[in-house]
Symmetry: C2
Subunit: 343 residues, 2 copies
């Protein structure tokens, strides 16, 4: 029941739901999808249900001037898939809750939802329901995803041990470099480098297949996705596992494009790599005696893995080791959704 | 990553999550709750997973001046539990996604979340995760709930047949009467009547146990919860089941308090009962040869059921029968989340 006057729009809620969800591709395990009070889903024996949700709020997480509507839709799903990947889970279903600002921008919504659907199809995810509400505020895309892991096979944040090796699944800092380039056009940076970092920000690729493979390897002791920044997310693992860590500065994978952007903006690209959010890479620990399991992964996976340090005893704290072998404490200076950008 | 300046708040996201979720009561089936990338849940063999989400947006669905923070929190969960009830499902888990307006009103959030937690405890629901984001717009409480039904036992909207009897689970129109009384103080209505309808609006009771009992009876052919209004929700059943319906005007359960409010506002209480949203009662159909199963339900359930009409062949349309036995078409004039209030 609206507390406000009728916005006199012609399109009704159910018209819009029908328009957006027409012909959704559904898995055989969807007993009842969009169109009832709730969706009904089959769940396989011996699999645990893995669930998470994440909201993208206009003005806080995205701007229409920075990303295409399709990218915004894809990204809203990708950030959720990344959380499932970090548990070693296989994505199965999604609920899409839209809070749309008035007046309704139907063209934008159509394109955003098309991007979301395409990403769902690409990852074999059935969109089984959701909700649409209107708001006087910004548009919010709030997605809940459902994945499965073999019972007991979820990779948590609290299983790391001192002595475990730390890995990341790819480039760090490029997304935050991309955001910087969207806020202010960089000068003196090659066009393709700018395009590369912008794509990292606008259209992150969740490491779903890798996450599932790492889970199946039974070698990984803890894992998290780097959404808030390496420093903050590493602290989550250390706090929950009761360990310290040392990260080797020179082992951090930072692309040439990110370094070029750092120079253009007078920012140390290392800071972006350490504290920049939105990377959506996996950070995980593995016991040294099982590290060889990584080389038996498909080459496409093993080639993207970068060892960046170790877990230590908790008394060591979380440290960064410089090229000269000296170390400093590495504070959790990444993104905080209430405090805003790192200083 | 915020696109805006740091709002210079002292409380971080993780502090707030810890504050709100400290000591959550969890079922034995929660393998991993709040505090990881995703929650991990056990799922019983032979049970289907039933999932839905619904958002409460400040200014659209609630005003802080109309309801206490505890009521707003309880209601945000209740409207979701009502959807599970309408499938005949037993609620098990919830994810709570908060989009909080800046600056943070911590006292209000604490109380709202306390109401939400109390309602979760009352219904045996484990809050297993969620998300917190900040916004320049209104506060939104977006909840996803997970329920279970025996495989094949979910009650859908599309199973009604011509000849089935139509029932509702309780009073109609009281919630919208309550909203009217919050918008404008009524004159000449007894205080307890005003309190009664306001409570119906601010703190609806989801018909969870009844919904599960109706599911277990194997007698109900279709069911929906009346969130948009009887007329609109009956149309959903009729459209999906391929039937028509006739509703007996004089059989609609309308309380004395609602009638008194109607008189005070010069509104026909029947219109509220037919088209008013937020009732959160169950509307269901049952084949006549199984109607006796309703009397074998526990008395607390059977006593609250009101037969209000029948499903018919689709050529009859959806009709309202007046006391003089004449009929009129009953249009779906309830609430539409995009169009706003019914005229």
């Amino acid at each position: 029941m609206s507390l406000h006057a009728n916005p006199t729009q012609h399109l009704g809620e159910f018209d819009l739901i029908a328009r957006l969800t027409d012909g959704l591709r559904l898995g055989n395990d969807v007993v009842r999808g969009v169109g009832d009070d709730a969706a009904v889903l089959q769940w396989p024996v011996d699999q645990h249900l893995v669930v998470t949700c994440d909201a993208q709020v206009e003005g806080t997480h995205f701007l229409r001037s920075f990303s295409s509507p399709e990218q915004i839709g894809r990204r809203a799903l990708s950030v959720n898939l990344s959380d499932l990947a970090a548990m070693g889970a296989r994505p199965k279903f999604a609920l899409v809750s839209l809070i749309v600002s008035k007046p309704l921008d139907l063209g934008w919504l159509d394109q955003m939802y098309a991007g979301l659907r395409a990403q769902a199809d690409a990852f074999g995810v059935s969109i089984v329901g959701g909700n649409i509400a209107s708001s006087d505020g910004p548009t919010c895309i709030d997605i809940t995803v459902f994945g499965q892991v073999p019972a007991g096979g979820a990779i948590r944040r609290d299983g790391g041990h001192a002595g475990d090796r730390l890995y990341v699944s790819g480039e760090l800092g490029s997304a935050v470099a991309g955001l910087a380039s969207l806020r202010k056009e960089p000068s003196g940076v090659p066009e393709d480098a700018v395009a590369e970092v912008r794509l990292a920000y606008c259209d992150p690729q969740p490491q779903v297949a890798l996450g599932e493979a790492l889970g199946a390897s039974h070698a990984v002791t803890s894992m998290i996705d780097i959404s808030d920044g390496l420093s903050s997310d590493l602290h989550h693992i250390c706090m929950q596992s009761g360990v310290g860590a040392v990260v080797d500065e020179q082992d951090l994978p930072i692309s040439l494009a990110t370094r070029a952007m750092g120079e253009a903006f007078g920012v140390d690209a290392l800071d972006w790599a350490l504290h920049g959010g939105d990377a959506y890479q996996l950070l995980f620990s593995i016991s040294p005696d099982r590290e060889s399991k990584l080389t038996s992964l498909p080459h496409a996976f093993s080639a993207q893995l970068h060892p960046i340090g170790w877990l230590t005893t908790p008394d060591q704290g979380v440290r960064l080791r410089h090229a000269d072998a000296t170390t400093d404490f590495l504070p959790p200076s990444g993104w905080d959704h209430l405090k805003g950008d790192p200083a």
